[in-house]
């Protein structure tokens, strides 16, 4: 909190004798960007646990259909639909977005650009409060009569619009309301992020001195802001259809179901890049620090990010190749879809080129970052198959799609999240994480992750399609070979989830009992490592001045192999 803000606070609390803030003021209704970042992060982690639990329940059902799932019970068709729907929704809207953009955006932007807080701190707090309400509404929707919404995270009408079709009268409406509130929360947060980056940079920090992760979060936020409008419009219309008897999406009343797909996917595809770009930024920070190298082609990476952002607006119809749109339009979207592989490939090549001639230290954050590169590569190349419209005739809504987007989303969300947490943990809590446990956790997550999703490519090639609770009824898909593949994937998932307990233990143990962290344990250049850890309210004792870009590692003729941004050239 800045001095001015503090002054205003003291003015309003003139009758309070205490100068110490109460627990509520400090942690619950705080306007401090770091506390709000933590609030987002912990909410996101709790939601990730719920999403993982849902995945466990329905994967167990797929491996051993019809049997009681330990710690869950029987998964019937309604519950199965509810589980898959809310697994997708939670992981995208309540884990990927809050953790990658809101939590790390809040935490890193003011620290990395050298200012004391967000430009609109109260707006920031309001953003989190709305987000929390949205999470609670979503959780409430699991327990109403009829159960949680089961119409897939894409919620195509008329299924999602008519209670007689989806049989989850209140679940569907609450689900929609939760998504709507969540979007509003991110709108408020997003305005804040971009304005802060534009207006509150430390003196001397030009546009090309901003760390890549801040750039990426900002590009992602702008993408989000520019693409979410049609979805909000669609959500309002869908809500009217559910509750007020209109028929925007119901053909018998004059509506058009394709309209929803049109509006939804206009947001839905940029959304992929909204969550991808922040992780790309996190990875860029980590690989430069741990290979002691300057980032290969700062401007190239930046321009490819712009290119990706621009292209992401013109690819969305590839989700509708077999949905009944004009096939001539599909041809145009094939071209744009395959074109978008070009900037992303360039970005990945630049990251790999950064490693050349480096001095790579395989600490846990670096392992996560390299793991991201490897697994995202698989996700990226399998995207080519699905961007090809003719193959989509076969693979649409099959497990091949599932495997593909989990190979993009899992690295982005989970691996990116762990990379960021393990990297910034010393600054966040002032203590080091246990390196051995961290490495166990890495290998215990990375190997089962591949064991989980590689087999899904195979069942996808066999024609197995999504959102089916029980494949034993399908004669062609019930073969023992395919079933053993499914069991293998499920066992991998269980192992993956079990290893997360290592992380939880390590996280809380290190938070309270870990070794005290030095100011700059990784010898990094960016500004957040110059403040004490954990950073106090107001962050910087005095505002830093910036003299150089964020990636000046191993500069020839300098004794140390790093050169922090705020050090004057003669120091």
């Amino acid at each position: 909190m800045g001095q001015q803000a503090e002054a205003i606070l003291h003015e309003t609390e003139a009758h309070d004798a205490h100068h110490e803030m109460s627990f509520w003021d400090k942690y619950i209704f705080s306007v401090d960007h770091k506390i709000i970042g933590f609030q987002y992060m912990f909410t996101g982690l709790i939601m990730a646990a719920i999403g993982g639990y849902f995945a466990y329940a329905f994967r167990m059902q797929l491996a051993w259909p019809g049997e009681e799932v330990p710690f869950y019970g029987l998964v019937d068709a309604a519950k199965y639909n509810m589980l898959v729907t809310n697994h997708g929704t939670i992981m995208i809207f309540w884990v990927a977005m809050p953790v990658l953009i809101a939590a790390f955006g809040n935490w890193l932007i003011p620290l990395m650009i050298g200012c004391d807080d967000m430009v609109f701190p109260r707006l920031n707090r309001l953003s989190y409060q709305i987000f929390l309400v949205s999470a609670l509404v979503l959780i409430l929707s699991f327990f109403v009569t009829g159960g949680g919404f089961g119409g897939a995270w894409t919620s195509y009408p008329p299924l999602s619009a008519v209670a007689a079709y989806n049989l989850t009268n209140w679940g569907a409406s609450l689900w929609l309301l939760a998504v709507f509130l969540e979007i509003v929360a991110f709108l408020l947060g997003g305005i804040n992020f971009v304005t802060t980056t534009m207006n509150a940079r430390a003196p001397g920090m030009g546009m090309m001195d901003i760390p890549i992760v801040v750039w990426m979060i900002n590009i992602a936020v702008i993408l989000f802001m520019a693409s979410v409008g049609p979805l909000v419009a669609g959500a309002v219309m869908l809500f009217f259809d559910q509750r007020l008897g209109t028929s925007f999406f119901i053909p018998s009343g004059g509506g058009d179901p394709l309209l929803w797909e049109h509006l939804f996917w206009f947001f839905g595809h940029p959304e992929v890049y909204v969550v991808l770009l922040p992780t790309m930024g996190i990875v860029a920070e980590i690989i430069t620090v741990f290979s002691r190298k300057k980032l290969f082609g700062y401007r190239t990476i930046l321009y490819t990010a712009f290119g990706t952002g621009g292209l992401s607006f013109i690819v969305w119809a590839h989700h509708q190749f077999v949905a009944g749109i004009d096939p001539r339009m599909a041809n145009v979207f094939v071209v744009t879809t395959i074109l978008i592989s070009i900037p992303i490939a360039e970005m990945l090549f630049s990251f790999i080129a950064t490693l050349y001639g480096g001095s790579i230290e395989f600490s846990t954050p670096m392992l996560w970052a390299l793991g991201f590169l490897v697994s995202f590569l698989i996700g990226g190349v399998t995207g080519i198959y699905l961007g090809a419209s003719a193959l989509d005739v076969y693979f649409h809504d099959s497990y091949f799609v599932i495997a593909h987007f989990h190979y993009t989303f899992f690295p982005i969300t989970i691996i990116g999240m762990f990379a960021a947490i393990t990297y910034w943990f010393p600054k966040m809590f002032g203590r080091m994480m246990d390196e051995t446990l961290n490495k166990i956790h890495f290998w215990g997550t990375f190997i089962p992750f591949n064991g989980l999703f590689l087999p899904l490519f195979l069942v996808g090639m066999a024609g197995q399609h999504r959102r089916i609770a029980d494949f034993t009824q399908y004669p062609d898909l019930a073969s023992p070979d395919l079933q053993s593949i499914r069991i293998f994937a499920t066992v991998s998932l269980v192992i993956l989830l079990l290893f997360q307990f290592v992380f939880i233990y390590n996280f809380f143990n290190s938070m309270f009992k870990g070794k005290k962290a030095p100011l700059n344990p990784w010898k990094a250049n960016t500004l957040e490592w110059t403040v004490s850890s954990p950073p106090p309210h107001g962050n910087f004792a005095e505002l830093p001045t910036i003299y150089r870009g964020p990636y000046e590692y191993s500069v020839p003729g300098r004794e140390e192999d790093y050169w922090p941004q705020h050090l004057a050239p003669n120091q």
Partner: protein, 207 residues
């Protein structure tokens, strides 16, 4: 304790980074934030307009059988009110630049009143349409009308609340520059709300 919590939630005291001596932003934070917000708003309305165009193209008869025509003339008058209010805001800014604070506040108030007139007339029109049997669920025609015009009406209402809140600045602040910069974001929002109306009017009422 309770009171201070409430105050925390309500009092809008932002960190004023612009007063820091070292850095001068190109565009004030409030204006910049508002511009980004308006990008989102434009996309929201373009989503509604897309829905309107697609649903309308799918129906053979427009407006559908048994549905009342929309009152073009009275709404044209209403449109005029809204446009005049935008000019009032423009004049108010001009006066502020010339340090005429009382006149500026009068024009600001005028714009607010015109905005309220717009809302009241719009509401009256809605009541009449409802009496003619055009409701949200009577047909997709009525639904689209209430959705688009209602969304705009809500924006007008929100912008009016902000403008009314901004009126306090005329009383509280001393410096013309502060008033001007504090009011600018709200006025930009008002321009947006006024600017999008002729488009919606043409789309929904005229063609």
């Amino acid at each position: 304790m309770k009171w201070s919590l409430l105050q925390h939630l309500l009092v809008a005291g932002e960190v004023n980074l612009e007063n820091r001596p070292k850095r001068k932003p190109i565009v004030p934070s409030g204006v910049f934030g508002m511009v980004i917000f308006i990008i989102t708003e434009v996309m929201f309305f373009s989503g509604l307009v897309s829905a309107y165009l697609i649903i309308r193209a799918g129906l053979e008869e427009w407006p559908p059988w048994g549905q009342p025509r929309l009152p073009i003339e009275s709404t044209a008058f209403n449109t005029l009110l809204l446009i005049i209010s935008a000019f009032a805001v423009y004049q108010s800014r001009k006066f502020l630049k010339n340090n005429l604070i009382t006149k500026a506040s009068q024009f600001h108030l005028g714009a607010i009143l015109l905005g309220f007139c717009f809302l009241v007339l719009q509401g009256y029109e809605w009541v009449q349409l409802l009496q003619f049997g055009m409701t949200l669920s009577s047909s997709v025609y009525g639904a689209l009308f209430y959705l688009i015009i209602g969304a705009h009406g809500l924006h007008v209402f929100g912008a009016l609340v902000l403008m009314t809140y901004g009126f306090i600045h005329f009383k509280r602040e001393k410096s013309f520059e502060t008033i001007s910069s504090n009011l600018l974001p709200m006025q930009i929002l008002w321009y947006f709300v006024v600017g999008i109306w002729p488009l919606l009017y043409t789309l929904v009422y005229l063609i």
